[in-house]
């Protein structure tokens, strides 16, 4: 069952996107997720998507923390999901905290699709 991300994970997640605005190496995308954005969200760039994701959560939007149960993803204890509107489309975004240290976080966006 999804529950709101715990405070430390949420902070690490937000910090990754904040650092990612200035520095490379804090937010990465699986090619599958990047490809979905390019093929479905006309005119959008990953930079803009990252800003929208950050602003959604920083503005009080829900970041769900979901215990990982899928066989291929058991390397990660949790994944972190959000749902938001982009260009009139309601989308679902799945992310993982590759590095969960709030002082040195790394988020990967692993999947994006219509919610």
């Amino acid at each position: 069952m999804p529950s709101p991300a715990d405070l430390e994970a949420r902070q690490a997640w937000l910090n990754a996107f904040q650092e990612g605005r200035r520095f490379r190496g804090f937010v990465t995308w699986k090619p599958l997720a990047q490809g979905w954005v390019k093929a479905n969200l006309e005119g959008n760039t990953l930079r803009e998507m990252e800003k929208l994701l950050h602003d959604h959560v920083a503005g009080g939007g829900t970041l769900d923390q979901v215990r990982e149960r899928r066989k291929d993803w058991l390397d990660f204890e949790f994944h972190f999901d959000l749902r938001l509107d982009v260009g009139g489309k309601k989308i679902y975004v799945e992310t993982v905290l590759v590095r969960a240290d709030p002082r040195d976080p790394l988020v990967e966006i692993v999947n994006v699709h219509l919610a």
Binding site: F23, R24, G35, N40, N44
Partner: protein, 165 residues
């Protein structure tokens, strides 16, 4: 205004691989084909030498905003769109408040700012509008009239009225 690709510094390589978690992600040149939605249609972009990232341990391909920017550049070239730096240069040359330009063009100021920063890619129709606006005082004047006068443009005019000598 900074270009969207400008950053102060990067996390030093190697990065941790999101797939195998080894610290083995390095820059790598790869051939890549992307399907991109543009002007309501899906088109294919091929980049033979995309500067991406790859894990040397598990071969996982990793993308980020910098990689995406290269695809955006290819898209702009393929559709002959104004680049963000060309848009910024034109804004600087016009030396007009961004709000006034946005009002003339009928777009939100935030959207205009994102086109100039390269974080949103303008449609071809908006690109044509920008080009006309930048290139022609007559177009700028006409668009200002259109903002004020709802009847402007409701009747097609085939040629400019002759001036009396």
């Amino acid at each position: 205004m900074k270009d969207s690709t400008e950053q102060d510094a990067d996390r030093p390589f190697p990065w941790r691989c999101p797939h195998c978690r080894e610290n083995e992600v390095y820059p790598a040149i790869v051939a890549h084909t992307a399907e991109v939605l543009f002007d309501g249609r899906r088109c294919e972009l091929t980049v033979p030498d995309l500067a991406a990232l790859r894990c040397r341990s598990c071969a996982e391909l990793v993308f980020d905003a910098r990689v995406d920017e290269q695809l955006n550049d290819v898209l702009r070239r393929q559709f002959r769109l104004l680049t963000p730096s060309q848009i910024r240069d034109a804004f600087a040359a016009l030396d007009m408040p961004a709000g006034e330009i946005a009002a003339d063009l009928g777009v939100a100021e935030a959207v205009l700012s994102k086109w100039a920063a390269g974080t949103l890619i303008q449609s071809r129709a908006n690109d044509q509008l920008l080009r006309g606006y930048f290139a022609s005082p007559a177009v700028r004047s006409a668009l200002k009239t259109a903002v004020r006068d709802a009847s402007f443009g409701t009747i097609a005019v085939l040629a400019a009225p002759a001036t009396r000598g």
